[in-house]
């Protein structure tokens, strides 16, 4: 491009930046003005609710109880939460589902990404076929798989000759939820990984081939390490959406049978909109945010790619 590498002359030293003209200041001001709508809107729908939740979580905010509304209750809501077996079970179920689904879906997505990365006839068809499940609403994927798993209308029992009432059992319900979730999410993760694959220069593979590396060695020693940044992004996305799973549970099982598929998000929703308990719900929400931050932090730390940047 047009700009030249400036010569290596130091000026001003530790006296900081050179003075800035009014023109640059005007540009800077315009820049902040351009950012303002996005920042204000996002603060309004994230930071504000977070603070509100925090405030609520230390108060009694139950709309169904006239008495004691708005009073300071200290950490009562948190104590109640940590002692609640319903919350603990929901936490455990959520973590287990997130862990298992992340592991399986990421591996499958990696396979799909490698498939999409290869040049072959019909790749366009594969791309479209894979993109559509990603693009449809969760309501569609959940409803669709609810149909598929239904004993009378579904395909699954019919083709495999089973007589399972999938959504009546605990493990079968989880299987159905997992399938619906995986079917919709794998394409998206695969796309993230694909974009990571595409930035790996092909010469590296050619060099490895000349060096006599087998496919597995190439994959292990080149593809995986170079894919690390994309993998980190994919894992964070996947882990968070796993931890926050709500739509599929609501639509397919409604948390049932019993409470056996109740996740944290679903419990949170119940607390807010069925029990109208915004104090207790606030505490659950705050923990949900903490959980997400922890998960993102752990993945980010595990996948830190110092050497690649």
């Amino acid at each position: 491009m047009a700009t030249e590498a400036p010569p290596a002359l130091r000026f001003g030293g530790r006296h900081g930046r050179p003075p800035v003209s009014g023109r640059v200041r005007a540009d800077r001001r315009l820049g902040y003005l351009m950012l303002a709508p996005a920042i204000v809107l996002l603060l309004a729908v994230t930071a504000y609710p977070l603070v509100y939740n925090l405030w609520n979580s230390f108060h009694a905010e139950n709309l169904s109880e006239i008495t004691g509304q708005g009073g300071w209750v200290g950490v009562d809501n948190y104590t109640r939460m940590f002692r609640s077996s319903e919350w603990l079970h929901a936490l455990w179920r959520t973590l287990a589902f997130a862990g298992v689904s992340v592991a399986i879906e990421t591996v499958l997505a990696l396979g799909l990404a490698l498939m999409l990365h290869r040049r072959f006839r019909g790749r366009g068809l594969l791309r479209v076929a894979v993109l559509i499940p990603w693009a449809v609403p969760t309501v569609v994927s959940a409803t669709l798989w609810k149909t598929m798993f239904d004993q009378r209308s579904g395909f699954v029992d019919y083709i495999f000759g089973l007589h399972t009432t999938w959504l009546s059992g605990i493990w079968t319900s989880w299987t159905a939820i997992f399938v619906a979730d995986a079917w919709k999410n794998i394409p998206f993760i695969a796309l993230i990984l694909l974009s990571g694959l595409q930035v790996i220069p092909t010469e590296i593979y050619e060099a490895a081939r000349i060096d006599g590396a087998s496919w597995w060695q190439t994959f292990r020693r080149l593809t995986l390490p170079l894919l690390k940044p994309a993998l980190a992004v994919a894992l964070i996305f996947r882990l968070l959406s796993g931890l926050l799973i709500f739509d599929v549970v609501y639509i397919m099982t409604g948390g049932g049978p019993g409470l056996s598929t109740e996740t944290l998000s679903f419990l949170n929703w119940q607390t807010f909109l069925v029990d109208t308990d915004f104090g207790y719900g606030g505490a659950i929400s705050v923990m949900l945010v903490v959980l997400c931050l922890l998960a993102a932090g752990i993945v980010g730390w595990l996948m830190r790619t110092r050497d690649l940047r």
């Binding site: 609710p49 939740n53 409803t143 395909f155 926050l244 998000s265």
Partner: protein, 303 residues
Amino acid sequence: MSTESAATGPLAVSRPHRPGTRSRRVQRIVREVCFYLAVLIVILIALFPFYWILRTSLLSDQAVGQGVGGPNGIIPAHLTGSAYSEDFNQQGFLTPLINSAIVAGLTTLITIVVATLAGYALARMPIRGAGAILAFILVAGFFPVLAMVGPLFLVLRNLGFLDSIWPLIIVYLVYTLPIATYLLRNFFMQIPADLEEAALVDGATRLVALRRVVVPVAIPGVFTAGIIAFILAWNDFAFAVSFLETPSHFTAPLAIVNLGQSQFQVFYNRIDAAVVIITIPVALLVLFAQRRIVAGLTAGSFR
């Protein structure tokens, strides 16, 4: 996967013995066949469920009652559009569809304007802390939706905005703004700075240069951001199920869940007819966008 065949292929040429060459060729063909089989399976898994709901949506109430099998196999003997007319005429599914279109459309519009401004500022303006601001915008996209529902419910209740589709337009920005801003920022950064500098020298102000030069050149990016925003807004369920009460105020995804439930039977044909309808615009967008984005507008104007 099957890249291995490509890796061993050229080496095989140097082998003089015919039998070795042949067995390698057979090996390679087997690998190719396996690969295409895998592709076929993936495509089937991705698309067959859609066939199944299309099939189910074309069954009569009676056929649904009979269950799968016999005349109602993989390819049913009798097809009817009765579930669709039931959805539209009796269940009033058109209203939620219109509601969804309004909300997703307006969200997309606001997203494009706001994200274009923010993305451009992040890409080009001499602001301080651009990295931190971008980080905040991205993190906001990961914020747990269910943790927002409670407080926003209270706020909307106090403002008298519950059970209305209008606040959804603002709330949905949490889905759309982060990704759209990030996408557009990256797009703007790829546009040569020369172009807007030329516009500035030609007498345009920053905003005029943005509107008349940068955005038109970045149109594929704006388009992509718009499509993704529309899909994300169209797909919401959590906020709709939390804030909407009256069926005539429902968005389409919420309406689907409440459709086809009767005391005695689940009418999967009616549910699936609605699923088919709500899937069509999204599927079309995907097909349409595939073609659009590829057409890079800047190709050829530099060098």
